[in-house]
Symmetry: C2
């Protein structure tokens, strides 16, 4: 006997990456930014007015919307603030999908998407990427109410050119959500598409590019009709007053942001080269992590690294079992990883 | 042509109370606590470690769960942390309700419940309270998958004895969610029921009793099977690191909390007396607001108060059109309200 709906009772929840209490562990498993957030964010927290806590926050986060709109060259009305990018994903599945309205996405990708489909009890149409992670042509033919493309994609770190996403948006009858959680580390992004397509939503997150995974702040950018519909179903005050103020300070510190991104890109290239020298196959990364393919199953490697105090991400699925997803850390952390792999006898 | 599901397209979203930018307005419309949050909360923000922002938070908020469990005499596994109490409501409707699984609740009550039913596209069974706001006997007979009782109730400020809720839990086949957002201001609460009933969930919020409406933090207390099921469908990191740390500091400062509550109760009684002297019918309040019934439609009163810089809450529905919901403010704010009403010629 259960009180839950059948689909919820049967559900295996999403399993987030491990968060060890031990601060000495080198954590290259959840794509956190290795550098601290902007000092302006810390200033916001130090100087917070207790009145901001006592009162309800702005329901739509208008000050953040105005700041972000300026940066992206859109209107504040094109933006919805969410409690992490994950909340935007969940809102979209609830808004567009149902038993007779499918969710479609190419795989392998962010493993939360199928969980959200199971919670909503809607069909999930999974279209496999080819070996080079090109956008599958079949994705345009699923008749899904919502199609999600993670771009750059996780865990492959690959990038689909924006003109291909434009063609996809044009072909689809439903909504195209482009999950740009990692776009801060790529050379291009899809924001310009929202001017031409009323069915495109861009997801952005402050967790990676802005070193604010602990703050839970993300946002969506889209045609204002889509934004207004999503606002109707979000919780009244889904983004809290501190997160809104801190997020505004973070996105406005453009200099700190670009310096941070450039450091990570440089380290990413060095890490890629060093892993290749050890015999891993590593595709060019457009994110703050790399996917390193080993010549056989990588589980033992993952476990040996873990014993040595270095956490990376491993999935035991047919497409991923020979691969490790490794977050780009600081120069010192990346060196420690390479050293440790050498110690294993590579 | 719409991209949204029909039920979402047709939906009128929940309308939160006004949040005027003007700090001079006397805001007695959204049941915020008139006193600032505990100084310990401010200390947490001042001394936040940037590492807490850089990394993902604890997925289940274990430190807060442990602190709250101790206060309520339950286990940490009996607690789920949520992004405001509203998120717990939304999670429960998603977990238990569907097209063939209804949501039931007595009315009038928190006007978000019907909105959540419309979003989930499930039936909403509304059972009217009687004039004294006694628990309607019919509520046990709806066969709903989820029944919500707001206790103390908003906007009536009335309280249903806990033994009646125990009988209801016993009779129901589905889940009973007791929305205790205002329980900090009442003389009793339903937490003891979770030991005897595996179908009872208690909702708590830090918005009112702890002066933290801006922080967005709430939690649920229930049998661990219910908690584990809800955890499967929440976002992986639904409560952020700052909110978790601040909430822990707030609930642990018992002395500050009780002093604050006692001050509000004293003011509530004084406000009630003063409104009665002016000819309002005011039932005994168990919350941080009072419901003041006028001898005729109260809309003009609401509007005249607003013009005078005092915001209260007014709903133009048959059951509520002759009533104002007035948050208990500081002594000075309450005096200003009474003075203003006298100026109108009462």
């Amino acid at each position: 006997m259960t009180y839950f709906r059948d689909n919820i009772e049967k559900l295996d929840g999403y399993v987030p990456g491990e968060q060890p209490a031990d601060a000495d562990v080198i954590k290259l498993n959840t794509n956190e930014n290795p550098y601290p957030p902007s000092p302006r964010v810390i200033d916001v927290l130090r100087n917070i007015n207790p009145e901001k806590l006592r009162k309800y926050p702005q329901p739509f986060g208008d000050e953040f919307r105005t700041a972000a709109a300026k940066i992206h060259g859109v209107s504040p009305e094109n933006i919805i603030c969410t409690n992490g990018g994950d909340e935007l994903l969940s809102l979209c599945v609830r808004a567009f999908c149902a038993a007779d309205r499918a969710l479609a996405y190419p795989v392998p990708t962010y493993s939360l998407y199928p969980v959200l489909a199971k919670i909503e009890n809607c069909p999930a149409v999974e279209i496999p990427f080819d070996e080079q992670f090109n956008l599958p042509a079949k994705l345009a033919k699923t008749h899904a109410a919502l199609t999600i493309v993670c771009n750059p994609n996780a865990p492959s770190a690959t990038f689909v050119p924006i003109n291909e996403l434009a063609s996809l948006a044009d072909e689809l009858n439903g909504v195209l959500l482009i999950d740009e959680a990692y776009a801060d580390f790529a050379e291009d992004n899809a924001i310009r598409l929202i001017k031409d397509f009323d069915n495109v939503i861009i997801l952005r997150s402050l967790s990676k590019g802005y070193s604010l995974a602990g703050l839970r702040f993300g946002y969506g950018i889209a045609d204002r009709n889509l934004i207004n519909g999503l606002i109707k179903i979000k919780d009244s005050y889904n983004a809290d007053a501190i997160a809104l103020a801190a997020a505004k300070a973070a996105v406005e510190d453009r200099r700190y942001f670009s310096d941070n991104i450039e450091k990570i890109k440089a380290e990413r290239n060095r890490l890629t080269e060093n892993l290749r020298k050890l015999g891993f196959k590593v595709a060019r990364s457009h994110t703050n992590f790399v996917q390193a393919q080993w010549r056989s199953d990588a589980q033992e490697l993952y476990e040996k690294l873990k014993s040595a105090g270095i956490l990376v991400r491993y999935w035991k699925s047919p497409q991923l079992a020979d691969k490790l997803r490794i977050t780009v850390g600081t120069a010192r952390q990346n060196d420690r990883l390479i050293e440790q792999l050498k110690n294993f006898g590579f």
